[in-house]
Amino acid sequence: MRNRLLAFIGVLAAVVAMGLVVPAAGQAPKKYNAPKTPWGDPDLQGVWNDATSTPLQRPGNVGEKGVLSDEEAEEFQKSLEHDLTRDRRDGGGAADVNRAYNEHWMDARRLKITADRRTSLIVDPVDGRIPPLVAPSPERRRAQAARADGAARFAAGLPADFTDMSWPVRCVVRTDVPPYLPTIYNNNFQIFQSPGYVTIAPEMIHSARIIPVDGRPHLDKSLRQWLGDTRGHWEGSTLVVETTNFKSEEGVLFQGANPATFTITERFTRVAADAINYEFTLADPMTWTKPWTALIPWNKVDPDEQMFEYACHEDNFDMVHFLTGARLREKNGER
């Protein structure tokens, strides 16, 4: 399973690199009265899926268009599907083999654009693109360079040790670290609620994000966690979630944001019986020149479809394979 992550990271990298842009007229959802729990909170319970082919950033080939017409949307979706699917034979045998992995275990929902026909998940800034990066401090530049060196050794098949692998490859964090972004599989999230709590269980990796909504303070700043420390409150029918206290390891947060100055606000609003709008705003004056916001639709999963345990580390044999392979290659004279 681990290996698939590589493909997934490749996809993310491609999306980020592609030069994408933004848009969007954040669609004002029709007024919908979300059901309430017996204790009076808006009811978000169920299994939800955030897969989509709509890129985080608006791609260059759609110009400045934030929302497409039906006809344009069909074309957009077709083109994205062609790029994303592994079930194609063009490009010759080598390209086909390099696509690796079969399509059948990937989430087919990732081949569809969002129902609102947006050209990017980012809704702010209006160009649909992540704001320009801030020049890093010398200290951060060194940390980023060290991480990049490790990634390069790994990509070359010669990792020096396990720290050359990324946190997702090492099964430390995957889509369980916010913001939740769609990926090639395991895009499910189950929400459980009880009085005073909203709990999100991301399928990958099996953690439970238990969010107190009772007004209690955050943990002391000295206590830092991979997934941070989360508190929530209700604003009307929207669950607003703030997360702090992230660990300081380089490369855990999106685009290598700096844990000490990074803030993330997530908003969950049930906009239909079968849909939640998931919106997140990221801010970090040490990483981005201004805050930015993305809106990702969460679609309810058929009740017959269950969440399954995603045990990442337990069968992570690839770690040994990567490392023993590298040692063997060195023995054979490769560097």
Binding site: T37, D161, A201
Partner: protein, 156 residues
């Protein structure tokens, strides 16, 4: 992940998230493991997993959880004893007061034990103000042990 019933008596807390949906979440601090107890699932476990497949039902005030489909690799108990893939655990969570529950587990594993047997102990609610589970991502603690020996050695 520890498997069941071992998860219940690790020296770390766990939280039960029980709402109005058709499932209850058990969130364990140890290795940040979770399992979903499905209250409306009648069929057999669809696949094996580390925490098993939990089917729940109510008997009066008692939550009865039938657990099958556990992978045989998990330790059966804290001493490191083993079980097989035929392990069948029936758990009973019975509230005794707002602060206590009695836990009972009937253990059946025809490939390992000659007959079914039971364990039982009380569970005490954590009463600290603002108590919360903390994160226990165990992977970073295992990596040196598992992968350290494959590190590139400095050229001699």
């Amino acid at each position: 992940m520890p498997g069941v019933p071992r998860a219940t008596y690790m020296p770390f807390p766990f939280q039960i998230v029980q709402g109005t949906g058709p499932s209850i979440l058990m969130a364990y601090e140890f290795t940040s493991a979770t399992r979903i107890i499905r209250m409306d699932w009648k069929q057999a476990a669809p696949t094996d997993s580390w925490m098993g497949w939990s089917r729940g039902r109510w008997e009066g005030d008692t939550l009865v959880v039938d657990v099958t489909g556990q992978r045989e690799e998990t330790w059966f108990d804290r001493a490191g004893d083993f079980h097989s893939d035929a392990l069948h655990v029936v758990e009973r969570y019975t509230p005794l007061s707002p602060y206590h529950m009695m836990y009972e587990a009937t253990i059946e594993d025809p490939k390992v034990f000659t007959r079914p047997w039971k364990i039982s102990f009380p569970l005490y609610r954590r009463m600290e103000k603002n108590v919360q589970l903390l994160e226990f991502k165990c992977v970073p603690f295992t990596e040196e042990l598992l992968f350290g020996k494959f590190r590139k050695q400095a050229a001699r």
